[in-house]
């Protein structure tokens, strides 16, 4: 890549920082240059987020229909899977799967709900009262 080809596209990085890349200067030697991002990879990241957001919407629907407890939705919203949630909460994976059943979730103690809420960076109220506005 040549110095005058360094992409300066508008991406998620643009307002926050610039990234450093290595380019050939006018004399054919390498030097570093700063880029605000590249459309091609920006689109790759956008695609990845669209996939994540689509899964999250489906998870929310499942919770509102009463098929899953809010823990399932917030787990996905925080880009976690059951193993990662188990590491953060200290619960067994088996226990978390149970907590994802609405009937069992509704009987959970405040202490346990608090552990989840803390991991998800929300209040217990938010965890319990999930709405379409999430």
């Amino acid at each position: 890549m040549k110095k005058d080809e360094v992409p300066q596209d508008i991406t998620f990085l643009t307002k926050i920082t610039k990234e450093l890349c290595y380019v050939k200067n006018e004399t054919g030697k390498y030097e570093s240059a700063l880029s605000t991002g590249w459309q091609v990879k920006h689109e790759a990241l956008v695609e990845a987020w669209e996939d994540i957001n689509k899964n999250n919407e489906e998870a929310l629907k499942a919770v509102l229909k009463g098929e899953k407890s809010p823990i399932y939705y917030f787990m996905l919203l925080n880009l976690m899977d059951i193993s990662l949630l188990a590491s953060y909460t200290g619960f067994w994976k088996f226990t978390i799967r149970r907590h994802m059943k609405p009937a069992i979730f509704n009987k959970l103690s405040n202490k346990k709900l608090n552990i989840y809420a803390k991991v998800f960076d929300i209040s217990v109220e938010q965890l319990k009262n999930i709405t379409k506005n999430e």
């Binding site: 998620f12 890349c21 590249w38 990241l45 880009l79 193993s83």
Partner: protein, 337 residues
């Protein structure tokens, strides 16, 4: 408490950046990012089909986290101190002790809870590296080499990212070079030669077909069957994943190939060996071809090109890259230093 007079250095990749920053802080002014990357034999390729990251296969253009720092310091004759801590309190008090002694410290952290990161980049990635270089009553001072500014983190924020959970959990891991001596030219020369030899060996002779240059051919063969096997949408997301691994902050563009070409150019100058410039050109070409392939892949995941022949074209481009990189490493392996 104190703030160490540390010069923030921005780099393409976090681990190169932390290594370069710490060594330069200890007086090794001739060290820069491409040198560290090359001496640490950082260039690699691996396609791990079984493990998934964000529901797509893991593809990496570099060696395992932590290796660049270890290999380059070893070859430069620098002793490293590194530690894990079972308890976050111990991790923090040890860090504060080193800062009080005036020693900037490298820390491995998770990116998901890093407040100064762009939100769209906050994934559960636990092999990010930062330098902590000071503390006042309320905050730690942090130099993150991929950002163009230094940041501050509260003790709680720092502890949270140092104790991120999941794959490669950092467990408070910190590290710093100890008793750095001035670098003599012969050590530097022999470190460069060893780095090149090791990288050549890793890329050409690693067993199996998913790693080294053969890994590129493996990915190529997979790209040909993804569309019919997984359906268009999943195949598109897999290609998007390749582009992210190849170009996302950290690689310096072209899946680290430009960074390696910059290293070989510097090595040619230090070793006074023009053949290395020829090799450098090959990696510049490989980097350019990786970027061309990314443009084609973007055409597919944006839905402009969706036929099997479009996937085949990308696969052909990767086979071309495979051949160029194989020839380049064979050329390097035949060189006498």
């Amino acid at each position: 408490m104190s703030k160490i007079d540390y010069q923030h250095i921005q780099s393409a990749h976090c681990e190169n950046g932390v290594t370069t920053g710490l060594l330069r802080h200890h007086g090794m002014a001739e060290i820069n990012e491409p040198l560290i990357f090359g001496i640490g034999s950082g260039l690699f390729y691996i396609h791990i089909p079984i493990l998934k990251l964000n529901n797509a296969p893991i593809i990496s253009f570099r060696i395992l986290p932590g290796q660049i720092f270890k290999r380059s310091c070893n070859l430069l004759g620098i002793k490293i101190i590194s530690k894990n801590f079972r308890h976050p309190q111990d991790a923090q008090s040890f860090l504060e002790k080193k800062l009080n002694e005036g020693v900037p410290v490298g820390c491995r952290v998770g990116t998901y809870h890093l407040p100064y990161f762009p939100p769209e980049y906050r994934f559960h990635f636990n092999a990010h590296n930062i330098i902590v270089f000071g503390k006042d009553e309320t905050h730690f001072y942090v130099s993150d080499p991929v950002m163009d500014f230094t940041s501050i983190l509260t003790p709680e924020e720092l502890s949270r990212v140092r104790y991120a959970k999941g794959l490669m959990a950092p467990k408070g891991y910190l590290y710093y070079p100890d008793r750095v001596k001035p670098l003599d030219l012969n050590t530097l020369k022999s470190a460069i030669v060893s780095g090149i030899k090791r990288n050549t060996r890793d890329m050409l002779y690693i067993p199996g077909n998913i790693a080294g240059v053969r890994g590129i051919a493996y990915t190529s063969s997979k790209i040909r069957i993804w569309r019919s096997k997984l359906g268009l949408r999943r195949a598109q997301l897999y290609l998007a994943q390749i582009v992210r691994m190849q170009e996302e902050i950290g690689t310096g563009g072209g899946g680290f190939r430009f960074l390696y070409a910059a290293f070989l150019e510097k090595a040619a100058e230090i070793l006074n060996e023009d053949k290395l410039l020829t090799a450098s050109d090959s990696f510049t070409e490989a980097g350019n071809l990786w970027r061309n392939a990314a443009v084609e892949m973007a055409g597919i995941y944006k839905g402009r090109l969706v036929e099997q022949k479009d996937f085949d074209r990308v696969a052909d481009m990767l086979m071309n890259i495979y051949n160029i990189e194989k020839q380049a490493f064979k050329f390097l392996s035949k060189m006498k230093f």
